[in-house]
């Protein structure tokens, strides 16, 4: 039991493992999310494009082609959004994700430089725009001024033109020499400021300031552009793109591997399935063969059973025949016994019928012939007339004598003898009648029958065996039964005979009682005060061939036949006994036997047998 459970669990585990492995392989061969990869690549590409646009717009702003900084500030939030998007897309995709914060940092760095660039560029542009204007203004003021011819103002004028040219050139092509030169001129201007009229001095101060601003901001610009160029956004993006592609390629490769594994595994599974299928087919074939054999065996067995049944039936028939024979012989045996009794019964009356007739015959021979002869002689004598008187007288006296003998007791004797003879004949007739009643062979086999009549005729038949016994009859009013009277009588005869043999001849007593158990059952009790039956024998009393009598005296079939007869009639026969005290047979019979035609037939058979 436990072993079986273990085996089941093991099998389930095995199946689960096989399926699990298959599911795992199928899962691993699912196409990588190429869309995800596409989106990642797209996001990176967009970042790259934003970066390129930033660079382009920085250049445009520097060239003065852009007059607003929206193109440089709008990408700030775009980059942030794209980086967040990318971080979502990457999920926990190892190596590429690691460089994402780096990318953010690099972008932040770039945006910081661009912020500085914007501020720087705005100032530079303003100053570049303002310097020529203020230079023109100063020159105009100088020309307007009364002291226009003063050497200081003239120098200022020259310096203005030179510094303006130098500054514009410096803006286009910054070099330290120009810068130094400008610085020197500006310093001189600054020194000479007090020499100028107030208005010109103020404007010149502005000019100086703005040229300084240009110099400063242009340097800042160079620095910022250099820094901008150093920021490795493109290379980082390229690196990330490559990493992504590599990862994707790796995944694809992995999938290829798993696909191979799956193919191999599938082939393996197919082999297993095929193997099992083959086994299944072969076992089916075996089962089919076994089935066929089984069928053959079955047919053979059926044949055997049929043969056996036939054998058994013939054996049963034989048995029935022999049983019938046995019953017949038992019948013959009881008949023999009975015949002995009957012969005795008939013999006694026959004896005195015979002796009466013998005596009568002698008497008639002697006395009636004498008288008849004398009377004849007298008549002859008298009729002829020629006879003498003496003769007549002699004849007359002879006749008188012989008639005297016939007188008186003679006729009484004759009558008595005839009466005796008739009595004997009557007895014989009764006996014959009883015999006829007993066998009832003259009636239909199954008929309505008063049980008491059966008992009476049986008692008559068994008179010889029971004559010295005391018979008590205690008959109730019973309903006639439908039964086979000869068979029932046979039962009674058997039991009564047994009882008669069991009781002692001195004070033997047989009590026969009948009563109605209910409206449809009659009970007959035949009890005796005989020697009883031992409890051991009591069990076997209805067994065939069981007998306590000496060999040759009984067949051992009587009671078994009685049992069978009662059974066939749907009744019961029971026996109770106490050793030394007596036995009692209790027979219960239904008023209507079971109306089974076969039973009836068997009953009839039994009756016939």
């Amino acid at each position: 039991m436990n072993k079986r459970l273990l085996r089941n669990i093991l099998a389930a585990f095995l199946v689960l493992t096989v399926i699990g492995l298959l599911a795992f392989l199928v899962y691993r061969t699912q196409a990588v999310d190429s869309q995800l990869h596409n989106e990642q690549t797209t996001a990176l590409r967009e970042l790259r494009q934003i970066d390129i646009r930033l660079d382009i717009n920085v250049l445009r702003s520097r060239m003065g082609l852009n007059n607003d900084y929206d193109p440089l500030s709008a990408p700030v939030s775009q980059i942030d959004a794209l980086c967040s998007h990318l971080s979502e897309l990457l999920g926990n995709d190892g190596s590429t994700l690691k460089s994402l914060p780096e990318l953010r940092a690099v972008f932040d760095q770039k945006l910081r430089v661009i912020d500085q660039f914007k501020a720087q560029n705005a100032i530079l542009r303003n100053s570049l725009h303002y310097v020529p204007t203020v230079s023109d203004e100063i020159q105009l003021l100088i020309r307007k001024n009364a002291e226009a011819g003063s050497p200081a103002l003239k120098r200022l004028n020259d310096m203005l033109v030179r510094v303006l040219n130098d500054t514009l050139r410096y803006n286009l092509m910054p070099d330290s020499a120009t810068s130094r030169q400008i610085q020197i001129s500006l310093a001189q201007m600054q020194r000479e400021l007090p020499l100028y009229p107030e208005e010109i001095a103020a404007a010149t101060q502005g000019f100086i300031n703005h040229v300084h601003v240009i110099l400063r901001q242009r340097a800042v610009e160079i620095m910022l552009m250099a820094r901008l160029g150093e920021i490795p956004v493109p290379s980082l993006i390229e690196q990330m793109g490559k990493a992504l592609d590599q990862e994707f390629a790796l995944q694809m490769q992995e999938i290829d591997h798993y696909r191979n594994y799956l193919a191999i595994y599938s082939a393996f599974l197919l082999c297993i399935v095929f193997y099992f299928a083959m086994r299944l087919v072969s076992s089916f074939r075996m089962i089919a063969r076994a089935n066929q054999q089984l069928q053959e065996v079955n047919e053979f067995l059926e044949q055997r059973v049929r043969e056996r049944t036939a054998d058994l039936r013939s054996a049963l028939e034989d048995l029935k025949a022999s049983e019938a024979q046995l019953i017949q012989s038992e019948k013959m045996a009881s008949l023999g016994q009975m015949v002995a009794g009957v012969a005795h019964e008939i013999n006694t009356p026959l004896g005195y019928v015979r002796s009466s007739i013998e005596t009568l015959s002698t008497q008639i021979n002697e006395k009636v012939r004498h008288f008849c002869q004398d009377a004849q002689a007298l008549l002859n004598a008298m009729y002829t007339g020629r006879v003498d008187e003496a003769r007549i007288a002699a004849c007359l006296s002879a006749a008188h004598r012989s008639s005297g003998e016939l007188k008186g007791s003679f006729f009484d004797d004759v009558a008595a003898m005839l009466r005796d003879g008739l009595y004997g004949i009557d007895q014989i007739r009764d006996m014959v009648l009883n015999l006829k009643n007993f066998s009832r062979l003259d009636r239909s086999r199954v008929t309505l029958f008063r049980i008491e009549d059966g008992i009476e005729s049986t008692l008559q038949l068994a008179r010889q065996q029971i004559e010295h016994l005391k018979i008590t009859k205690d008959f109730g009013t019973t309903t006639p039964l439908r039964c086979s009277p000869s068979q029932i009588n046979q039962v009674f005869l058997n039991i009564i005979t047994n009882a008669a043999q069991a009781v002692s001849p001195k004070d033997g007593l047989i009590r026969i009682s009948t009563w109605m158990q209910d409206t449809s059952h009659v009970v007959i009790e035949i009890a005796d005060n005989g020697k009883g039956i031992s409890s051991e024998n009591l069990k076997k009393i209805f067994d065939p061939f069981f007998t306590t009598k000496a060999i040759g005296q009984g067949t051992g079939l009587g009671l078994s036949i009685a049992y069978k007869i009662i059974q066939k009639h749907g009744g019961q026969i029971e026996v109770s006994s106490r050793e030394g005290k007596g036995s009692a047979f209790l027979i219960t019979l239904p008023t209507e036997p079971p109306s089974d035609p076969e039973e009836g037939e068997e009953l009839a058979d039994g009756a016939a047998a």
Partner: protein
Amino acid sequence: MNGVFWNFWVPPFLRLCAGILGAAGILTAAMATSNEPIKPLPPNPKIDLRKLRLGERLFNDPRLSADGLVSCASCHNLYGSGGADPRPRSIGAKGVEGTVNAPSVFNAANSFRQFWDGRALTLEDQIGMVVVTPADFGTTWDALLSKLKQDAEISSMFRAIYPDGLSAKNVSDAIASFERTLPAPSRFDRYLQGDASAISDDERKGYEKFKAYGCVACHQGVNVGGNMFQIFGVIGNYFQDRGQPKPADLGRYNVTKNEDDKYVFKVPSLRNVALTAPYFHDGSVPTLEAAVSIMFKYQLGRSASGEDMALIVKFLKTLTAETLEKSMTGNLPGKEPAPLSRGREK
């Protein structure tokens, strides 16, 4: 091979074509309109109207602050002061005084960063910082959310709009969404779009001066500023001249700790500038004229005639959103202000 060709080469090729077409389109569009440094306002994003209503409610909800007295609207006065704070420095929860003058919320959505020092990138970031800054709401998200949770109506509004209901992210989203619908075009936008009569001659002259003097170098783009940082005091030292230096004067340095970022601030947007007095991060300048002249002195390093400055101020007033111009004139006692949010049904 075929697959590789279609998957690998065709999409970039198509994208290239689209790029060329797009570039061509942009170029022709640029040529068709103008090459002005100031750009007209783009249309606002389309946002669920329910979300806007919720955002507006939250914007005006003082429960967002620690003491329940300060709302977004406390410092971003939408009706009187062009979405900015009329006080020099804003007062946060529990009376904590801020360090700077609250700038306008109206076109914040179009600025490249938030706060004077640009420490927040998005409006949502800005809201998150306001919640926890002591001089603003001075609270925590947990406290704020538990307060809002008690309001069944607000909670159900959140549940109706967001699958995950009330949360810090969704509160920020609702308020930011509302703020994104605030930008409203001005007369000058109409002028930029070709309606020459949208502004007067003086205003147009003021615009020319604005460009000529170089104001436009920093105040350009869609937001007339708001897209770059600049040092306050390009020429001359503003803070020295003003006196009383404060930590907030260091500007972006406070964020980056970068020496170059000292006194650097986000260039503020000049949209609605006529309404957002007092001016500058310190709120030290009460009038537009004074602010313009300070800019001339410290940023441009030049002077201008009073006439030119007046023209520039006139131009600046054309940058006021027309809805606000109307609401200003309509904001008389007994009149409901016109709705400011330009959200549209999705």
